[in-house]
Symmetry: C2
Subunit: 411 residues, 2 copies
C-alpha cells in the first residue's frame, strides 16, 4: 500500500489533466500554481499529454513584460469515453468527448425480475451500440468504457462480487460484456463513480477531504482523501449504507439490522411513508421512482404527509451524515444520485438542520453540505472518468515499454 | 489541502526514519526496497538525518560481489523526546531516547474534581521535571515534548478546544504549559497519539489502511490512510465515539443520544454492568480503573456476570467496528488504550465474533482485528512521536533558512 514514485506520477498526471479540463485554455504557470507542482513537473506532464493528443496548443497569452506564455487546452475530439450506469431500475449509457461533454445518451428500463446478468449485459450492449452510432464516432476513437454496477466489485478481475439488491454473487461481468463490446472495459461501483465525478468536475474538486453521499435504491458514501479516492484495502470502502444507525432496527437485505440504507434508500423512504400514512396516494408500490417523484411534488405543494416523510428521512440521514462528519472531518459532504436530485433543496435544508443537531461543533464548523452540482448523470460521468484514468494509466505502461507513445492517440 | 513537494519530502523523511527505527542497522539499498523510494532519494534523506545527528554510520555489510554497503542506525543518544498522556484519571509522562526506548517514567493520579486546567498543568510540569531528572538528560538534549489531551484540539494554536469529560472549552493548554516547560511543545489528542504510535511502532506499520480504536474513558478511532494520519480538514477526524450506534439511545455528554462511547467507554461499560447486575460486587462506583480491572479478573475466573458484561460490551463494540470495516475497508483494526489492554484477549475474541456477524463479507475478509502490540503506554509513545515529527519538520524549516543545519542536534 505504499505510494511509489509511479503512483505519484500517475496522481500528478490526473491532477494536471483535471485542472486543464476545469479551466481551458490555461498556461503551464497557472497549472503549477493551481496544483502545487513545480513548473518543471507540469511542463513534463503537459508534454506527455500533448504527445498523446489529449491536449492541444492554442496560442499564447501576454504576461506583463515577460515572455508570452503558451496556452494549452483539452483536445476534446482527441478521443471518446463511454460511461455506463447500471442501476437497479435502469441502464443509462453516455458517450463523452475528452472534455467530458456528453455527445450521446441511451436509456434502457429494467423491470423487476429482469435483473439476471445476461439480461443486464444485453441492455448495456444495446445502449453502448446506440451511443456510438448516435455520436458517429469511429470505434477506434473510443478509449474505453467505464461500467458502474451496484455493490461490491473486484476491479482487477472485473467481477461483480456482491450486488445485494439483485442477490448477484461473483458475476464475471466484464467477461460477459467483452463478448459484446470490443473497447477496453473498466468496472467499478456507483459510490466511487459519483465520488470521482465530484472530484474531477463537481463539488469535491480541489478539496482534500470529501464525502459523496450516494442516495439511490442503495446508499453509500464515496470517500476522497488527499485529493484521491479512498478505495480501502480491497476496493470496498464506502459501504456507509450498511453501517448501523439503529441497533436491532429494520432488517436489511445484507442480513444485518438497522443499516442506514433501510431508512434512507428509496425502499427505506417508501417504508417511512408506509409507516406514517399507509394509505397515502403518494405511495406507488413497486415503483421507487414514481414514489420519490410523488414525494418531491408533494413537498413542493406543501402536502403535510410528504413534508413529514422528507423530514423523517432527513432525520435519519442527518444522524448518519453527522457520523461521517464526526469520524472523517470532511471539508464537504455532497448529496448525489437520483433520490437526492429528485428531493433536492427541501431535503438538503432538513438534512443540514439534522446534521447540526447531531455533529460535534468543531467538525461541523469545517463542513459544507451541498447538493451535487453535476447537471448530468454523475454515475455515467464518473464511470467515463474511470475509463479516462484507465486510458491514461495503460498509456503510461505502454510508453514505458516502447518508444512510440502515440499508441492509442488520434488515429 | 494539496500535497506539495514539501509535504512529500516530509512524509518521505518520516517513512525512512520509521523504517530505520524499526530495523537498525540497515543499508540505503534495504531502505529503498522497504519504502519504495528511489535509492537517490533515500541517500539524500539519510544524509540529512546523519547531518542532524539522528543517525549514525555503523560499518558495512558485504554484498555478494558488489561494493560493500554502508550501514546506518538510529543514534539513540542523539536526543531525548518526552511524551505526555493526560487522561481523565491520571497524567503519565515518559522520556524516550531517539530509538523511542523509554528511559524514565512518572505518573500522577488525578482524582475527580482535580480537572481544572491549572491543576492538570501542575501535574504535567511536575512529571516532566521528574523524568528529565531521573534520566539525567541535559535540557538542551530534549528535542520536544508531545502532549496528548482528550477531546478536540487545535494543534496550530495549542488550544484544547473541547474536552467533553471535563467540560473544558478553549483552554490555551500549551501557553499554560510553556510557563513551566521550556522545551518545544506539541499538542494533539490520544486518538491520534495511539494511531501514530501504531503507525511507527505497532500493528499499523507498513499498512496503508489502519483504524486504531481507542478504548478508554473516552472512545475514538485514529485513522491512518496511505501510510499517514488522516486528520480531517480541521484536525478533528476520528470522533467515532460520537457516532450514533443506537438512534435515540443513551444520553451522551456531547449532547447527542446513542453514541458509541456511551456503550463501550469505561463509564458505558460500568453502565452495562449496572443494568445487568445492579448489586454486583464487580462494581466500584466512581472508580473506572478498579471496575474494569475487576471485570478482567472476573472474566479470568469465569464469573458469569463479568463474562456477560464483556460479551454485551463486545456486541456494541463489534457493531461499531463493523461500521468502520464497512465504511473504510481497513487492512487492520487495532484495539488500543487502557480498557482494551485490561480486558485483553477475552474482549478481542468476542469482538471478532460480533464484527463477523455485522460486517459485509468482502471488507471483513480483508481486515485483521488485533490488540495493540505496543508494550508501553501507546499515548506517551505517540505523543513523543509527534515531538519527533515536530523536531524533524522544524529542522526542515530552519535548514531552508540558513546554511547550518545542525541547529538543534547534539549540543
Amino acid at each position: 500500500m505504499k505510494r511509489t514514485s509511479r503512483d505519484i506520477r500517475t496522481a500528478n498526471r490526473y491532477e494536471v489533466l483535471r485542472q486543464i479540463i476545469a479551466e481551458s485554455p490555461t498556461s503551464r504557470q497557472e497549472l503549477a500554481a493551481a496544483t502545487g507542482l513545480s513548473l518543471a513537473t507540469v511542463a513534463t506532464l503537459v508534454g506527455e499529454l500533448l504527445d498523446l493528443g489529449m491536449l492541444t496548443e492554442v496560442g499564447f497569452e501576454d504576461s506583463a513584460g515577460g515572455r508570452p506564455r503558451g496556452l494549452v487546452a483539452v483536445n476534446a475530439s482527441g478521443g471518446a469515453l463511454i460511461g455506463v450506469d447500471i442501476a437497479e431500475t435502469y441502464v443509462r449509457v453516455e458517450l463523452f468527448d475528452l472534455a467530458l461533454n456528453v455527445l450521446a445518451r441511451a436509456d434502457e428500463d429494467m423491470r423487476p425480475g429482469e435483473s439476471r446478468p445476461v439480461q443486464v449485459v444485453g441492455h448495456v450492449a444495446t445502449a453502448v451500440g446506440s451511443v456510438v452510432a448516435q455520436a458517429g464516432v469511429e470505434g477506434a476513437r473510443v478509449l474505453g468504457v467505464g461500467v458502474s454496477v451496484p455493490g461490491q466489485v473486484d476491479r482487477a478481475t472485473g467481477i461483480a462480487e456482491y450486488a445485494p439488491n439483485w442477490d448477484w454473487h461473483d458475476v464475471p461481468l466484464l467477461d460477459l460484456l467483452a463478448e459484446h463490446i470490443s473497447y477496453p472495459l473498466y468496472l467499478d461501483n456507483p459510490l466511487r463513480a459519483c465520488a470521482v465525478a465530484e472530484l474531477w468536475f463537481g463539488a469535491a474538486r480541489g478539496r482534500g477531504n470529501a464525502v459523496v453521499v450516494n442516495l439511490g435504491t442503495g446508499v453509500g458514501a464515496g470517500l476522497a482523501f488527499g485529493g484521491g479516492l479512498h478505495r480501502g484495502v480491497s476496493n470496498s470502502a464506502g459501504e456507509w449504507g450498511h453501517t448501523t444507525l439503529v441497533l436491532d432496527g429494520r432488517l436489511c437485505h445484507c442480513g444485518n439490522h438497522g443499516c442506514v440504507e433501510t431508512y434512507v434508500g428509496a425502499p427505506g423512504i417508501m417504508q417511512n411513508l408506509r409507516e406514517l400514512s399507509p394509505r397515502s396516494p403518494l405511495h406507488h408500490p413497486e415503483d421507487q421512482t414514481a414514489t420519490i417523484d410523488a414525494l418531491a411534488r408533494g413537498v413542493a405543494a406543501q402536502d403535510p404527509v410528504a413534508v413529514k416523510v422528507v423530514r423523517d428521512t432527513a432525520r435519519y440521514l442527518g444522524a448518519g451524515i453527522a457520523d461521517l462528519v464526526n469520524l472523517l472531518n470532511p471539508e464537504v459532504v455532497v448529496l448525489s444520485s437520483w433520490v437526492a436530485a429528485a428531493l433536492g433543496e427541501p431535503l438538503l435544508e432538513e438534512v443540514r438542520e439534522a446534521v447540526a443537531r447531531h455533529a460535534l461543533k468543531r467538525p461541523l464548523a469545517a463542513t459544507e453540505i451541498v447538493l451535487s452540482p453535476i447537471p448530468t448523470d454523475p454515475v455515467c460521468l464518473g464511470a467515463a472518468t474511470f475509463a479516462l484514468e484507465g486510458a491514461l494509466s495503460s498509456v503510461t505502461q505502454k510508453s514505458n515499454q516502447r518508444p512510440n507513445r502515440r499508441t492509442w492517440s488520434r488515429q
